[in-house]
Point group: C2
DNA sequence: CTGTTAGCGCATTCAC
DNA sequence: GTGAATGCGCTAACAG
């Protein structure tokens, strides 16, 4: 492995000149720059990241703590991760992957100066990691919205707004009684805030519009879905106005939903309108593309990286950024 | 941040003594060791990874190149990744995540000495990365089995054996005509070797047992599945002996399969037996647990890390390891 | 515009 | 069993 010294000798310049050619931190004459660059190519030189980290106090690595359990949302998680890695590269950063259950990992990678900053996925309402993170003296961005961010920056999709947008769309189409089929019970129990917020936004919007609402959690399986539909559609309380539209916030159910409604003799959208809250590609994967408020996993991941990098390079103030939802009408909603 | 120097001063010993206490590479008296350790705790010292990498020529980081597209197999991929990260930690290594489409990433992280070794997922039959990897002078392990490993070590599940095991199970149950529903066409086209090998093993085993076989690729959607079932079950050629059993190698189809067969009036296992090739948890997630040859993603990930670490610490010879399949009979197969 | 030099924090070779 | 000294490869302050 060639070192910077070798390059300097080969190019007939000093060590620091090579360094400055690489970093661009001072002006170099065209001539010497070319000489250095050709020496670099000739020797196939590349800088040693450890040495650079030691001297510059920057590792060019971001830590990403991601939930790697085989949960319902794997595809969303993958999209986040992909977006984070891809965006990080545009800032010349690499990504070190930490798993959710590696509790000590955060402390370790920061105290050893392995990472310049941290991104945390899958934040819960009262996430126990937050107080730890708040002490770390490295930039941290939470992907998710806890009850109390304790001075940490956050970015997330506006799930409450997503539900409201979905409801307004349906209300505009004259639906007066709307059902909500949400994340599995487990998500609610561990207080994944996206689940809570989506539910809350739904209820609020229905109340505000004066339409009746019915909520149900649901596991991603056919029997669970069948049961949930029964509960929502055959609800006696709402007998006055039968449910004519659904908001579904559960990617795992989408492949099953058409079939489950067909079994009940319900056609989409003639008999029942459906809006899903899901990643774009999932919504489009169906034979009949879903009208959807899409979860822009890629945008969120990108925003998260931008936010850490901002805080690495300057000291921007704390920021909580909510990504605005947009609804795209496709083939699964219609007026009644 | 405290440095080793600070610790040495605090403990009243020399720099090197601290270093040796940490590495254990020479014997230290109980007394001074305790002194050093308490100084470490008192100052909350932890070593600087960059400095360590510079001096020792080891980063304690493994690179993992993973396919982060929203493919059918996301859950399997997640399990691999989780296994790799978890196992790496037991070797005191962290994991740097590279995406499949970051072509230059491999070259970059190795030439900059960011990683001590590399793991590559999702290897294709004639993967263009292999010649590059073969030149890298760092330990590499492929998770997958290319046509020509070019001197690289590989580890993978024995997909051909998995199909054979499934077929033998069904043959033992007196099935004489078996259908295979496999990965999407796209997987075949990019020559993901798992798809090819599973198909091949299936055909061979059926031929060897003298039972008739029908194969079909299938996208993970209800219409595609319906069509595939029609093709396999209503195949005129096999009119002599109707298909009474299926081998399914496609996780995405499992939530749909029960329903799709029910629509045709087929009960599992009374009318048709089904063996799936899928991760354990996927096979168990169904209401009626699938008889399955399980894909031990965790074992494979662990083996891969073990293999790189072996080659980092000593120079073991090249090795190609195939993980042996095992079938667990559950509720979806029966004798006829 | 360029060169000289002093660390960055640690591992390790000598010397005792 | 311990300490002193050197160098890993690079950045950036200082000095022209």
């Amino acid at each position: 492995m060639a070192t910077m010294n070798d390059v300097a000798r080969e190019a007939g310049v000093s060590l620091s000149t090579v360094s400055y050619v690489l970093s661009g931190k001072r002006t170099i004459s065209e001539e010497t720059r070319l000489a250095v660059q050709s020496a670099i190519r000739k020797l196939d030189y590349s800088p040693h990241s450890g040495a650079r980290a030691l001297a510059s106090n920057r590792s060019n690595v971001l830590g990403l703590m991601a939930p790697l359990r085989a949960d319902v949302n794997v595809s969303v998680i993958m999209q986040f991760v992909a977006a984070v890695v891809t965006t990080a590269r545009t800032y010349n950063q690499d990504v070190l992957l930490l798993t959710q259950d590696d509790a000590g990992g955060l402390e370790r990678v920061t105290s050893q100066s392995m990472v310049d900053g941290l991104l945390m996925m899958d934040i819960e309402a009262r996430d126990p990691r937050i107080p730890l993170l708040a002490k770390l003296r490295k930039p941290v961005v939470l992907i998710g919205l806890p009850d109390d961010p304790q001075g940490l920056s956050c970015v997330d999709f506006d799930f409450a707004g997503a539900s409201r947008t979905a409801v307004r769309h349906l209300v505009d189409l004259n639906h007066r009684s709307i059902g909500f089929i949400g994340s599995p019970q487990a998500s609610l129990e561990r207080h994944a805030t996206y689940a809570d917020r989506a539910r809350k936004g739904f209820t609020e919007a229905c109340d505000a519009a004066g339409v009746s609402s019915t909520l149900r959690a649901c596991e991603p399986s056919m029997p669970a879905l069948t049961e949930a539909l029964t509960a929502v559609l055959d609800d006696d309380d709402g007998a006055a106005t039968a449910v004519t539209a659904l908001v579904v916030h559960n990617e795992g159910l989408l492949p099953l939903l058409h079939e489950a409604l067909a079994v009940r003799g319900l056609r989409i959208p003639e008999d029942i309108s459906v809006v899903v809250i899901a990643p774009e590609d999932v919504a489009l994967a169906a034979t009949k593309p879903w009208t959807a408020v899409s979860i822009p996993a890629h945008d969120i991941g990108r925003a998260a990286v931008e936010m850490v990098m901002d805080r690495l390079n300057s000291d921007k103030p704390v920021e909580v950024r909510l990504i605005v939802p947009t609804l795209v009408q496709r083939e699964t909603t219609s007026a009644r």
